[in-house]
Symmetry: C2
Subunit: 551 residues, 2 copies
């Protein structure tokens, strides 16, 4: 087993989020991406989720570098947690590094190991030669990576689509994929998000066409909410506003930040005299304004949400407004988005969503694009990533439809070690991998038990019952005192609590009389009495905290 | 204002769920439907939501009867809460009453006031003459209501679609609508769920066609999950299974119950020798089996979910299975459904969903059907119900497109009193209306404060800190004792808690020394010290319960 290369996903398979992939050759490794994921509904109180990086932390000295494919949160968001522990070069394109940089501040990290890469550059780190290949995606400056190793070439598609008319005119480098394909590719790691969708993903340009038609001869003020990282879309908005003689104002912190970074780095070509400050909008009639804002996912605190519920201090919507929700709801956000659409409609504004117009397209390749990539790259093995199980499965079905053997397509789990060479490929091992929950300053300290308790508290609240007993364990000196939160409306539950107190008093006195005065029996009795009585009366099971204090 | 009739929604407008509408003429009222709604995500621990019925309870003696349009939970689920307080006749069709009846048991209510109605029957209750008109919906025996009052005719569409090829061959009674239309209709209350969808809703029969093609020549065992109340679909499944020589087994309590009720009442025509017990399935090869089950919404405890995660005691899925998810996710359930689809795919089973085949159609009329209803009924006024604001708005746009004045379409809020006669219509008043939360035995006792506390507890958990002080308020006799749940992992937080205890001790002793020994300052101080320290250390804000016991 001399010439083996290993592919080890630490995050990003069986899920959409927290992408992190390791390539290992002998004793050296590189890391591709380091992202975050939103918490699941059951992860109460959790801020976000990052990959379990302990495998890397235990092999610090073997890690040579990090390569970033593009600047989305699910690919860059956990980089500071990685860099806190492992100080290696970080390679990425200009805009990608531009979007990572602000994240370092909170962690007091420097960017001195950041290495700016231009598309087409080849970087050598140990046994890995990494070339950045241009692909299209819903953010500029995205890349696929072609990684030449002594065991063969591995291509990582990045997040991609084939856009024949990209806004920045930078078409996916089909030639480069073809060239690698001609020379032989061992494995293709491949974005499987939309593998289950037939046909081709539409060009970002189509959103521009819709926007053009909305802006044309529209007497209304127009607001457009979209992802702050979709610089292509923001670019189109600016260009079309200019074309239709509208000024553009930008609202929402992340939108303002990203417009700033993109303009400064040359990724947003701002037409002259188009951007105005939000405070200037009253100087223009509605038909001269386009307002870009955050909130396309119905986020409760975003600009658009506040406008929808008439809580924005600068903008009040009415029937002289047209609002474009330029996005699809991310799974789980449907109800939030719906709530905002209802509220927007109620203001009198005309509301345009992806349900009634082509105001959003995906950034991920559909079935035919994936097949085309397979044909271009001609990999021996295929490893679908960036997908739930159903997406990886659909990707494998596509490969099979082109004649691939099922066994040459690997549906990995996070932590699987796929060992490859020209003759064979197999899962050889597994390493630690999983979810690390970030809660405030806590990294991974909130686990199953804490979440289970939060879940119980969320359902029925808490009830604390305290009794002070004498040191000789013969008398109650104070209490029982019962405090509840989230269980019943305290002001209207006096009787219930008084009865509970008298039941506890009785039960404790009985135990004290009979000499069963260990803390455990006292606490258990108190819990049992309360549980039974409260369930009988209310049908609820609050978390009961029985406390004995001895004086 | 002699001859006015009033329409008062108590639930069902600006929401999909808990339908309840009141018609009042002078001092007499009838009620249409009495449904429940699922709790929103922020209603932690709530079982379900019913309409605030206090307006009815305060006017008990004026309520003449309840009329039920069909047997879905959002139309019948809160009836027991109504009947507990108001004992009046309940009119409904056979199957509708059949689905309501089991609900009475838990409430120890009798069905002696149930009045079975046949489509076409006219019931007189006070000044109201109510005729049941056949409509199609995703449950058999649904009805629209034509209510003749001295002020004019009001038609309530029920939940409906126009299905030209209904499974039970009982076509919507277009003639009856036309007849009322010819004679003059004052107002149409109209199902607006799909008003924003273009065209016509497909026939339920189309699902049968898909199912037919899946069953034909399929060597797999086939499982189909669908809504337990969709008797039409279950009927098609039985008929097609019989056609393709398959036996049918039924799993899941609600599915078994509904199949039983529907068969008994003559709404499910069971082919001979088709139904088998679930325990018999091992006697048949896969290609001879169709299994109907619950779980099409990804419900965590449903049969299909347990199978997906290999936790069903009777059925283990593999690549000789085909699973049909015959439903669309109800908004809010997308992630649950997705989770189940991923798990099902992982078992090796072939998974068919509404994303890749026509295995589900809606039960609600789309835009063209609504327009047709408007043409048939020719109402003077239109009142969209059964819809969020955006749906009601879309319904109004449809009416406007047919030449209605905007002011003749009323987008009501729950509690609005719309007063109508032949000359005018206006919102004349509002009555109490809203959400009553059901939590265990509690009806409406959980309100804003309890939910806010549950939300706080869910985020960061709870911390109780108890100190026993002497009656002379000069010394701490016991404690501080600190107990936490859902805040930090207790076993790994000893230092944090010990430091917290010493900070509290210091702070309390300081106050005792200086004589500031009121309970309020002591508790406030304890809360403040803990809050500051814990936020500093953890970035979290647990709910802090400071407790002083005096001995």
């Amino acid at each position: 087993m001399e010439k083996n290369v290993q592919i080890i996903p630490l995050g990003g398979v069986n899920e959409i989020g927290k992408n992190m992939y390791v390539l290992r050759y002998k004793d050296e490794m590189i890391v591709i991406d380091s992202g975050v994921m939103f918490p699941d509904d059951e992860m109460l109180g959790i801020d976000y989720v990052i990959p379990d990086m302990s495998f890397l932390f235990e092999n610090k000295e073997k890690v040579r570098a990090v390569f970033l494919t593009h600047g989305h949160e699910d690919h860059i968001g956990s980089l500071p947690y990685f860099l806190q522990e492992i100080d290696v070069p970080v390679y990425g394109t200009t805009l990608t590094l531009g979007f990572v940089r602000p994240k370092l501040e909170d962690f007091k990290l420097s960017d001195e190991k950041f290495r700016k890469v231009h598309i087409g550059d080849r970087i050598t780190e140990g046994p890995f030669k990494v070339e950045f290949i241009r692909v299209n995606h819903s953010i500029p400056d995205g890349a696929a990576l072609a990684i030449t190793t002594p065991a063969g070439v591995i291509i990582h598609s990045g997040d991609f689509k084939f856009d024949q008319t990209p806004v920045d005119k930078k078409v996916t480098d089909y030639h480069k994929f073809a060239e690698y394909g001609d020379n032989g590719v061992l494995a293709l790691m491949c974005d499987s998000t939309n593998a289950g969708k037939d046909g081709y993903t539409p060009s970002e340009r189509e959103v521009g066409e819709t926007l053009d038609s909305v802006l044309r001869n529209n007497p209304n003020r127009i607001l457009m909410a979209t992802f702050a990282s979709n610089v292509h879309r923001i670019q189109q908005a600016f260009a079309l506003a200019h074309k239709h003689n509208r000024k553009v104002a930008v609202i929402g912190r992340s939108m303002i930040n990203n417009v700033g970074i993109s303009t400064e780095l040359g990724y947003l070509d701002m037409p002259p005299n188009t951007l105005i400050d939000i405070n200037e909008i009253d100087n223009y009639p509605p038909e001269k304004l386009l307002i870009l804002c955050t909130g396309s996912q119905g986020e409760p605190l975003a600009a658009l949400t506040r406008m929808a519920f008439n809580k924005h201090y600068q903008i009040t919507l009415n029937n002289f407004d047209t609002v474009i929700m330029s996005s699809n709801p991310i799974p789980g956000n449907e109800k939030l988005v719906n709530r905002v659409v209802n509220a927007l409609t109620k203001t009198g504004a005309t509301v345009i969503t992806s349900k009634n117009a082509k105001v959003h397209v995906s950034g991920h390749a559909s079935a035919e694009e994936l097949k085309m990539l397979f044909h271009l790259v001609k990999p021996k093995y295929i490893v679908p990533f960036h997908g739930e199980y159903q997406h990886k499965h659909a990707c494998r079905e596509l490969a099979i439809s082109l004649g691939y053997e099922k066994d040459n397509v690997f549906l990995l789990e996070n932590g699987d070690v796929l060992e490859l060479n020209d003759d064979s490929a197999a899962i050889a091992d597994t390493v630690e991998a999983g979810k690390v929950l970030i809660d405030g300053r806590g990294i991974g300290d909130v686990g199953r038990i804490v979440l289970r308790d939060r879940h119980m508290l969320a359902q029925y609240g808490v009830l604390t019952s305290i009794v002070v007993i004498s040191a000789d364990k013969k008398a109650i000196l104070a209490g029982p005192t019962i405090i509840t939160r989230g269980f019943v409306f305290v002001k209207e539950s006096e009787e219930l609590i008084e009865e509970a107190i008298s039941l506890v008093t009785e039960a404790i006195e009985e135990l004290l009389r009979t000499g069963k005065t260990g803390w455990a029996p006292l606490k258990n009795k108190m819990r049992q009495v309360l549980q039974d009585y409260l369930y009988e009366e209310t049908g609820r099971r609050p978390m009961i905290l029985p406390i004995i204090m001895e004086v």
